[in-house]
């Protein structure tokens, strides 16, 4: 195929292909994450969630998308027309741009920049403009307050999340996503386990960065009525919505690559198997999983009340069956192909697990007040992250000087950070009284 | 071997626009932004010559300029906010007294 395309643009073909795939798949993925969120929320709250559109609400995202497209697109009359049109565009492009450095599988990566991680951080930090300009352009008091609050929140939690990442970079030694995963393979341990606090800080930081769960103050329904998105409707609003979910997937992707060993199969270290012979049973797991889903949906098909729901269920079953065959087939293919496909599967599995954790946290915790949110960010997370980074640095020095094992050297770090965390947490609680008593 | 002149022309253009911005505009914020523009023009020059000599000193110096721009912007905007808070105006002409 190489000779068909003139050599000068040869290096650009594959990345462009991947980019097209990602941009096409993303809205669908975001839609289905919304469905997953509503389903998970429902079963946590002892109810069923969307069931009406398609079997078990599987067609709900498509219905939402169509509704959003048809909805009338209102622009407040005194709004700043140029900014109003430009703001959601900014946040969506930034969200999509950040995918370029994300390494889905060993092969499936648009551009392996050697400053991959920094690039994603930089681009996602530009997302703030979409929100701030959006809040400003809709020219209403509520959305401006919401925009300012969310910008302040993003800026402060970006530092916390960034510091959380640095502690991992010290271990990995490189910025490029592929090398980080490689480092985790060589050291045989996922960084999530070796630097637990870094993982915790990044988890909290990423939740705050995507305006979700306990930190979703900007669009806190009760006071500011959907914050900066108040004046948007119809397609424009769905752009913001898409940007938010795309950000969520990016953040999950970064966390998976850095803390959960990207596309590495759990227990990847014993991976030196010869193709066709000692395939570890773990490799077959993906195929078996998708096969199970296919059988389940087949069993469900006849029970669907409406005829077309039966067809949809059968369709879903066929789709899962196909994926299962691909995964099974890959087992016998040369290792490069097998790694590519299985890598992508494991990466997506971990991303979805991380997003499930997002949803889980979202439905158990009440919302933080704005000043508590800021206090948590600046007074608790950032100092903790700093201590963590120093701790990891010390651990690395220990490992080089006294050749301790990678794990052994990190234990003092975790203990030290734990101690500091307790210290900081202790003086957080009683502050609430003092502050309101002063206000009295 | 690409000639260096295109980059120099570009940074000169940005530099002149920045200077014009500072000198002619009345709004203080726009003046601050024009200063950022001038600093950016200087950065381009540094990068070009660092690339030409093949060393990284130029880039390191550019980093220092950016940090300095950050510090300058922070304090500058602080002053503007304080001034706006008291005098409700943002125009350079009306900032004629030192102590308000």
């Amino acid at each position: 195929m190489g000779h068909l395309i003139p050599p000068s643009i040869m290096p650009f073909v594959l990345p462009v292909l991947y980019a097209v795939v990602i941009v096409a798949v993303l809205p669908l993925l975001a839609g289905y994450i919304v469905l997953m969120e509503r389903k998970v929320m429902a079963d946590m709250q002892a109810r069923l969630g969307p069931m009406r559109v398609g079997p078990h609400g599987l067609l709900q995202p498509i219905a939402d998308a169509v509704k959003l497209l048809l909805k009338e697109d209102i622009i407040p009359d005194k709004a700043d027309r140029l900014m109003f049109w430009f703001a959601p565009l900014v946040s969506v492009t930034m969200a999509l741009l950040a995918y370029s450095a994300l390494a889905i599988g060993p092969a499936f990566q648009i551009a392996d920049l050697n400053i991959g991680l920094l690039f994603i951080l930089a681009i996602s930090s530009l997302g703030i403009y979409g929100i701030v300009l959006g809040g400003w352009a809709s020219n209403s008091h509520y959305s401006l307050l919401g925009a300012l609050r969310s910008a302040a929140q993003l800026v402060s939690y970006e530092t916390a999340a960034g510091l959380g990442l640095i502690s991992v970079l010290l271990l990995a030694g490189s910025l490029s996503m592929k090398d980080i995963v490689q480092a985790q393979l060589d050291q045989g341990v996922w960084f999530g386990f070796s630097v637990p606090f870094g993982f915790f800080i990044y988890l909290v930081g990423s939740i705050a960065e995507t305006n979700r769960a306990p930190f979703d103050l900007p669009e806190a329904e009760s006071e500011l009525v959907a914050g900066y998105m108040t004046e948007y409707s119809g397609f424009r609003w769905s752009l913001y919505f898409l940007a938010e979910y795309a950000n969520m997937i990016i953040v999950a992707g970064i966390a998976t690559t850095l803390f959960l060993g990207g596309w590495l199969r759990p227990g990847a270290r014993y991976h030196e198997h010869i193709p066709g012979t000692g395939i570890e049973w773990l490799d077959a797991l993906p195929a078996l999983l998708t096969l199970g889903v296919a059988l389940y949906s087949l069993k469900l098909a006849p029970t669907q009340p409406v005829k077309i729901q039966k067809i949809v269920m059968v369709l879903v079953a066929v789709l899962c069956l196909g994926v299962a065959c691909v995964l099974a087939g890959a087992l016998f293919a040369p290792p490069a192909v097998m790694q590519g496909i299985h890598g992508a599967f494991w990466f997506m599995a971990k991303v979805f697990a991380y997003i499930y954790a997002f949803l889980w946290i979202r439905f158990t915790f009440p919302r933080y007040r704005f000043d508590q949110l800021m206090r948590l960010g600046w007074r608790f997370l950032i100092p903790l992250a700093l201590v963590n980074v120093i701790g990891v640095g010390v651990a690395i020095v220990l490992r080089q000087q006294f050749a301790w094992g990678p794990i052994v050297s990190l234990i003092p770090t975790t203990l030290a950070t734990l101690g500091v965390a307790m210290l900081l947490a202790k003086d957080d609680a009683p502050v609430a009284e003092a502050q309101t008593a002063a206000g009295e | 071997m690409i000639p260096v002149d295109d980059y120099l022309f570009l940074s000169l253009a940005l530099f002149t626009i920045g200077v014009i911005g500072v000198l002619t505009r009345r709004n203080v914020i726009i003046m601050l932004m024009s200063i950022e523009l001038i600093l950016n023009a200087v950065n381009i020059n540094l990068m070009v010559f660092s690339r030409m000599w093949g060393t990284v000193d130029g880039q390191v110096f550019a980093i220092f300029i950016i940090t300095d721009a950050a510090a300058e912007a922070a304090v500058g905007l602080g002053i503007i906010l304080a001034f706006f808070h008291n005098r409700e105006t943002v125009l350079a002409d009306e900032m004629d007294i030192m102590k308000w």
Partner: protein, 170 residues
């Protein structure tokens, strides 16, 4: 590769100059800020062309992601529509403009004389020491002292900003 490189440079250059001009002339500051952001992003692009990846990232994160957010914050907090109505250019704009052009002319002449003398080495396919590592080494070896001074500078700036805010809020 050469033509693509040239095309990119022209694109970034034109974008930078155009948005710079727009920034200076716009009546609405928010539009001005957005145009400044486009200028900064296009200069970041030029850094990439000059194979300075780390600087590209620093420019994007620090300049656009940090300082410009500060600017946009202040613009929103400042009472915008009154200033939009006033005259945008001060009285002596004509004299200032002429002076600036004279200054530009001198620089132009200086560059014109040395035209073609300096050459950029060809676009190396793979930079030997990765750019980030090289900058890092330099930063922490030769430039240790300036690095510390820069950090003190930032500290002073932070304290200044805090004092400014506290006095106002007090």
């Amino acid at each position: 590769m050469q033509t693509l490189n040239q095309a990119l440079f022209i694109f970034f250059a034109v974008l930078a100059v155009a948005s710079a001009i727009l920034m200076v002339t716009r009546r609405n500051i928010v539009h001005g800020a957005v145009f400044l952001i486009t200028t900064l992003l296009s200069t970041a692009g030029i850094f990439l062309l000059l194979q300075a990846e780390f600087l590209f990232i620093v420019q994007v994160i620090l300049y656009v992601g940090g300082i410009m957010v500060l600017f946009v914050f202040v613009i929103m907090l400042v009472n915008l529509d009154v200033s939009m109505r006033q005259v945008q250019f001060n009285r002596q704009w004509f004299v200032a403009g002429a002076l600036a052009l004279v200054l530009a002319g001198q620089f132009l002449f200086a560059i014109w004389v040395g035209r073609g003398a300096l050459r950029l080495p060809a676009m190396a396919s793979e930079i030997s020491p990765k750019n980030t590592e090289a900058v890092a080494d330099a930063l922490f070896s030769h430039y240790m002292l300036p690095f510390e001074i820069a950090s003190i500078l930032l500290l002073v700036a932070m304290i200044g900003a805090v004092v400014m805010a506290k006095r106002r809020a007090g």
